[in-house]
Each structure stands twice: as C-alpha cells, then as structure tokens.
Assembly symmetry: C2
Homo-oligomer: 460 residues x 2
C-alpha cells in the first residue's frame, strides 16, 4: 500500500489548495430550480470540465433539454467505475436566516478542534463530489495515473427533479456503463464513524379517493342514512395495520427478508434506541412493527404511511356537511425484493373490497420504485468497508436508508450496474436549509477515503 | 265550526289582496347578513308593524344590537300563543342564476293547475309568516276578534345567526311567554300532505386534533418508527361505528327511546324507501344502523358523522411527509333525552383511550343542543293534526326532522314553552338558493290551515 500512503500524504499537503478549488465551485450559485440562475448552472458545469481536464480527464459539458451534464473519462487498469455526483444546489431563501453569505464560502470554527466549511452546496453535493476529484488529482500528481478506469457523471438537475437524467442515461448507456457506480451523496453515521449505505427503501405512492353521494349533503337531513366517505376512508386506513403495527394487505411481505443477525447486532451496537431516535422529534414509543429496533424499522422494514388526508369542511368553525368525497395519500416504503406493481395492485384490491356497493373509489398512482439492496457481504462493500475502517480508525458500518435515491435505481435498471454509496455528510449539515455546512474532516478524510477505496478496489 | 267557515270563505275571497300584501313585503330586500341592506331590514320590520297595527295588534319595532325584532300583542279568549317567524332573507347571489328578479315577486304557472309565488323569501320565511297574519286578519274582519290571545315575534336575524335572539328572549321573557309557541318555518311532506314536526335532532360538535411529533417528518427517515397522527385518527374514527352502523361510545344510547310502532307505521305508509330517499343523491344503501328505515334513521335515531378531516400534505402530487398533527370535525345528532354534555365527555374519553402515550389530543367544542321531542300524542299536536287533516283532505303526518331549529330549544329553555311546528314549505322550494318559490296552494291553504288551527285550539 506504499503507493496509497504517498497519495494520502499528498492530499494532506494540498488541503489548502483543494479548499481554494472547492470555494471556486461553491461561489457559483448553481441553483437549478430557478431559471434566473440558468447561466450559473452552466458556469459550474464548465468549471468542472476545466478542472477535470487539468487532471487529464477527457471531459465535456453535455447539453440536455434542461441543465447540462458533465461527463469525463480517464483510462486506467483495474475495474471501471462510474462516479456520480451533482453540482446543482438548492435555493437559499430565506436568506435572512443565513449567518454567512451562502455563496461566499469560508471555514468556521464552531467548537474546539471543530471546523466546518460554510455555504450552500458544501455538503449537498459539491463538497462531496470534490472529495473524489481531489483523490483522483492526487493520484495523478503522485503516480501519473489512476488505479481504476474512471468515468464521471455530474448532474445539474438533481435538486429540480432530474428531468433529463433518464433520457440521458438511455441515450448514453454504452458510454456510461461501468462495472459499478460510486455515488457520493449520503452520510456518515456520526462525525467519526464512516458508513456505507447498502439498502435504500423503495416507494409506492397512491392517492385514494372515496366517492359517495353526488354532492355534499346536510348532515341533518341525511346523517344516519347516507354513506359518509370520511367514515369509509377511515375504516379502510384503520384496517391497513394490525394490532402489532404490521401491514395487513395480503401478500405485502412477499419478498421481505429478515436482516442478518450480525448486521442487526452491529446496528444495536450503535446505541440507538427508541428514546434517542424519537426523543428529538418529541416522541418516545416505536409505532411500527412490534419487537424491532428503531433502526431496523426505518432501514430494513417496509411500511404503510398516510401522508395526507382531506375531506369535508376543514376551515375554521363547523359545517354540518356530509361530503361527497374524501381522499388520502398513502405511501409504502419497500424493502428487498418487494414488487411495487404487486403492492400497488394488492392495496387497490384491499381498498375496493371495503367500499360499499353504492360508493366508488378512484386511485391515482404517485411513484413506484423497488428497494435497492446490496448484499451485506458483497465484495465491493466489504472492500470499501475495510478501506474506510482503515482511514477513520473505527469500523465502517453497513447501514441502510429509509428514503430512496432514485439514481441508484436508474443505474441498476438502465445500465445494469450496482452502486456503492459512500458519503461523508452528517445529519446536521442543514442541506436544503439555511446555514448548510460540511465538516472540514469530512472534506479532508473524504478525499483520503476515496484514495484508499480506489486503491483497494484496484487491488482486489 | 260555522265561525271558521265564514273566516275561510273570507280568506278565499281575499286571496288576491293577500298576495298584494305579501308582494309588498317581498319587495323589500331584507338581507340580514349584508350590512348594505341594514335599512331594508328595518323597512321590512316597519312594514310588518304597520300591517299588524292595521289588524288591531299592539305592534312595535324593537331595536336590538343588530336588526330589530317585531313584537305584537292581541288580546283574545282561549289559550295564549306566541307565533314566531322571521322577516329577514338570504342573499341572492349568484344573481345570474335567477329566472326572475328575486325582489320583484310574481305568480308563475309551472305546470297544469300548478302555480307558485316566485322571489327571495317567498318560502323562507315571509310567505309562511304571512299565512298566519292573513288568518288573523280574516278572523278580525269576520268576527272582530281573534279566537286566541296572540303574541307575535318576528325576527330579523334568523339568516345571520340570530345574535340578538337569546338576549332579547331573556330580557323580555315575561312579555313573550305564552302557553305554547307556533313556529312556521318548516315543510309539508309533499304538495298535498300536511305535516307537523314533533321531533328535532340535537347536535354536538367536536373538533379533535391528534398531535404526534413536534414537527412534520420525512417518511423515509421516520416511516415505520414514528407515530403517524393520521393513522391514529383513522383508528379512532373507524372504532366509532360497529359493523351494524351503531355508535360504539359507551352510554351513547342512554335516553334514546324506540319510536312508537304506530308512528313508524305511518312513516312506512309514506312509501319512502332507501331507493327513493337516497336515489336523488346518487346512493342506494342505507349507511346507518341496520334494520331501520331511512326516515327512522334521519328523524328518530342519533348519529355520529364526520364532517371534515385534514392532515399532512393535501395539495397536488405527493409529499412523503408524516405530519405532526391531523384533525377531524365530528358531530353527533341527538334524539329524545340524550344529554349533549354527557355525549361530549363520553366521546372525549373514547378518543383519549386510543391515543398512544407519547401523543396527545386536543378537543374544541362546537355547539351542543339537546333534541326537541314533543310527544306524538300531545293534545296540541293531535288538535292541530285534526285541523290540518280537515283542511287538506289527507291525514296530517306527525314527522320529525333530522336537523335542528334553534329557536325551538330557546323557547323551551328560556321561556319554558313547547312549540308546535307547522309549515307549508316544500323540499323543492329552493330556500337559500336562486329561484326560491312558494306554492300558491301553500300560501292559500296555509292561511286556511292557521284559521282552522286557531279555532281548534280555542275550542279544545
């Protein structure tokens, strides 16, 4: 590993310079969702292309219907990896809540030996993607080559729904396909504990509207005789969970696997319990399937949640109305190999069976993506885990995430490629909020981590 | 009854003149809810006072904090009755939906031998109250006296929430107290079948808010672990009705009596079934307590209805949020001697028992009035029933109403007086809507009905 040590030393010596470069990128307000910043988004793409060219990448700005992609290629021995990140950022309003100018990045000491990089995009995702670029730069500086064949894809529309991504992946599948993807858009367990995300829950959304009478009714004239769609909807929703918090839809748990005991144990060792997990949000009792820990519930178990409900009179005061309809937005988080289409259909059937003959129900689908699950002992995972453990001096965790990162599913579906999710963000980075920050240790040791991971993948 | 026959003949001969008078009152746009018509409301009160004086009433406009009351007294033998009606009307917008000017009343032939009086207030309530005034006028014209001692109370704020009514009743209890009240603000069963309303359901409203986390949560991060207030609320609402449509709150049916079999039979004879009752609103199945007819359900049974529900994201599309709170507006229609305070407390207890320990619930009360129930064989009812039956040539029905008429409760509570509810409106009179009308037969035979009722009450 002598060749890695020299790269790591180089990274240490060049930290100041790497910060200057990062600041250069952070100063460009590449807010993708606001058309007023269209040109800034383009400038950020061009900045990245110039920087990648300076390291020897064959890099170019690639126009799309929306904001451009940055694609870059570099030859190398060993495996071929596709690195993904995004260079667009969230809007910054309300601006008055920022302690510093969001586009004048700087270093701030927020505690003893605790420094952070401040500004919009530091953690999401410019700081993260530059950890990888800096690792490549150092490799080139020290060895004149990279340990792997590297393709880079930087997106400029991640914060505005990625409208061009799927068409672009389809159109350039041959160019972008690699052995696997590296995605740097996730978090560590805490400031000192690195983590690899091997599971991402999938999502099925359904809006369900129950319709009863052909108009709103006066509850005095019709109450007690006419169907009330709120009552029907409440009955349906209430029937979706059993007394133990399990989901009652027939076949719902098809494809759900139990998490390996050793993984559950490693999660238990994190010391997260119901109190520590729920305390900050003002709760104390786990509301999901009984007998499972908080982390297992949000990382490895499927759910049925109600995200919205509405019907009848919802203003101030009272109106004795029996509404003509009521609706709810219901979503399911999926794990392992649960099939979104099957779940959707089973849910609809479950609802239909509970609608009185003279009422009707309508469904409107919202999203449908399967879960992503790398096996916990996949060689890519264990290799990266060892490299991270070496860098941080603490065992790197294989964790899961309750939410979804659509790009990972897209890579799998469109390019037949699994993703390794390694990131150095923290839960308190305030991404999407005022006063976004990125730990200076994350930026520094993140660079070193990628150097180690690339080396380890090459030597595997 | 010779003395009634001559009064009836007089009414027949004076129908044209009574219509002219009614038109005079209808032409005044006494819209109580709109301050722009304040003076018109006053004009209508003055019009009535002048008219009542012309019959020999001691009548006066009585100022209140809002619109004035009209109070009038006339001596007489026999029982002392308080007649109540209201001279204010609903707004008329959307004006473009009216076929005629709402304040240019007229007679319209809408079918063979089927004429109606058109205009705002014809049915609600100027046309109705004038049936009584005309009966008094005819009595005076023919006999020079009234068969009963009559006090009249005409309100000018019924369509805007009656803010002055209770203070006025309290301040003038001695002046207004009579043996019983006659209220003319209800409907007939159909165009040919008169009806007396002997039951009015009471009402208890509660807004219930379930609170879980201290902020909205991302369902990816917390879904499956954190309490979802929509789920809790749905479980609570779903538990309020059993499989047979009965309400499950302990003690809810305390004070509920079974309706006498002969009354149920008279309702059955009306030929109203689930299909005829629900068909016009697009339904076909009775949703209330099983084994009871549509009319029994809405007239004589208590209910629990959900009038509104809201929580989480209710806009277009989807947001994977677990909301911090969710609320529902729940109302109960009460019958017989159900106690509103007890029902409210029992409901709250029912809900509290179903809230997880780390969540909370808040209640906000809306209204609470007991049911009004005259006994079906009260002498006042049977006397009026016989008079109506004689006038219309069809048995007058003793019916109930699903909604409530607050004045009846106020008379009972504040003046210790029961009310006889007789009215000649029809379900299709479009009160509160464009193209309000009142059947010409209702106006004519309504006058004759009051003449007969007054005579019958005097002779009892």
């Amino acid at each position: 590993m002598a060749d890695v040590e020299s790269v790591l030393n180089h990274l240490d010596s060049q930290l100041e310079a790497s910060l200057e470069r990062l600041f250069g990128l952070l100063e460009i307000p590449s807010i993708s969702t606001d058309p007023a910043y269209k040109n800034d988004v383009k400038r950020a793409a061009e900045w990245l292309v110039e920087d990648l060219k300076s390291i020897g990448f064959d890099a170019s700005v690639r126009p799309t219907e929306g904001h451009p992609m940055v694609v870059a290629h570099h030859d190398g021995q060993g495996p071929h990896v596709l690195f993904y990140g995004h260079y667009d950022v969230q809007p910054v309003d309300p601006l008055e809540l920022w302690n510093e100018d969001p586009f004048k990045p700087g270093i701030k000491e927020i505690g003893p030996d605790h420094r952070v990089i401040t500004g919009r995009g530091t953690s999401d995702d410019k700081g993260q993607l530059m950890t990888f670029v800096e690792a490549c730069r150092a490799y080139k500086a020290v060895h004149g080559k990279l340990p792997c064949k590297v393709t880079i894809l930087f997106e400029g529309e991640e914060e505005s729904g990625s409208p061009s991504l799927i068409p672009f992946l389809k159109a350039h599948a041959d160019e972008l396909k690699a052995d696997f993807a590296l995605v740097c858009d996730t978090s560590m367990w805490d400031r000192e504990t690195p983590a690899i995300c091997v599971g991402l829950r999938g999502l099925v959304g359904e809006e369900v509207t129950v319709k009863a009478a052909n108009r709103d009714l006066h509850s005095g004239y019709y109450g007690g005789a006419a169907a009330n769609p709120i009552r029907i909807l409440a009955k349906v929703l209430a029937a979706l969970h059993d007394e133990n918090g399990g989901v009652t839809i027939p076949g719902f748990y098809e494809g759900v696997e139990e998490t390996p005991t050793e993984i559950l144990r490693s999660w238990e060792a994190l010391g997260e319990d119901a109190e520590s997990f729920l305390g900050p949000i003002g709760l104390s009792e786990l509301a999901g399937e009984r007998g499972r820990s908080a982390l297992e519930l949000v990382w490895a178990r499927p759910t049925c949640e109600f995200n919205g409900i509405s019907g009848g009179y919802t203003g101030e005061g009272f109106k004795t109305v029996i509404p003509a309809e009521a609706y709810a937005k219901v979503s399911f988080r999926l794990v392992h190999s649960q099939d979104p289409a099957k779940i959707r259909e089973a849910f609809r059937e479950f609802v239909r069976e509970r609608i009185p003959a003279d009422c009707s129900v309508e469904f409107s689908p919202h999203g449908g993506s399967p879960a992503i699950q790398l096996s916990y002992d996949s060689p890519i995972v264990t290799t990266a885990q060892a490299a991270l453990t070496e860098e941080w001096g603490k065992p790197a965790l294989a964790i899961a995430m309750g939410g979804s990162i659509p790009i990972v599913g897209d890579f799998q579906r469109l390019l037949g490629m699994e993703s390794l999710l390694v990131g150095f963000g923290l839960a308190d980075d305030a991404i999407h909020s005022p006063n976004e920050k990125y730990e200076l240790t994350s930026f520094h040791k993140g660079q070193r981590s990628w150097a180690r991971i690339l080396a380890a993948l090459a030597n595997r």
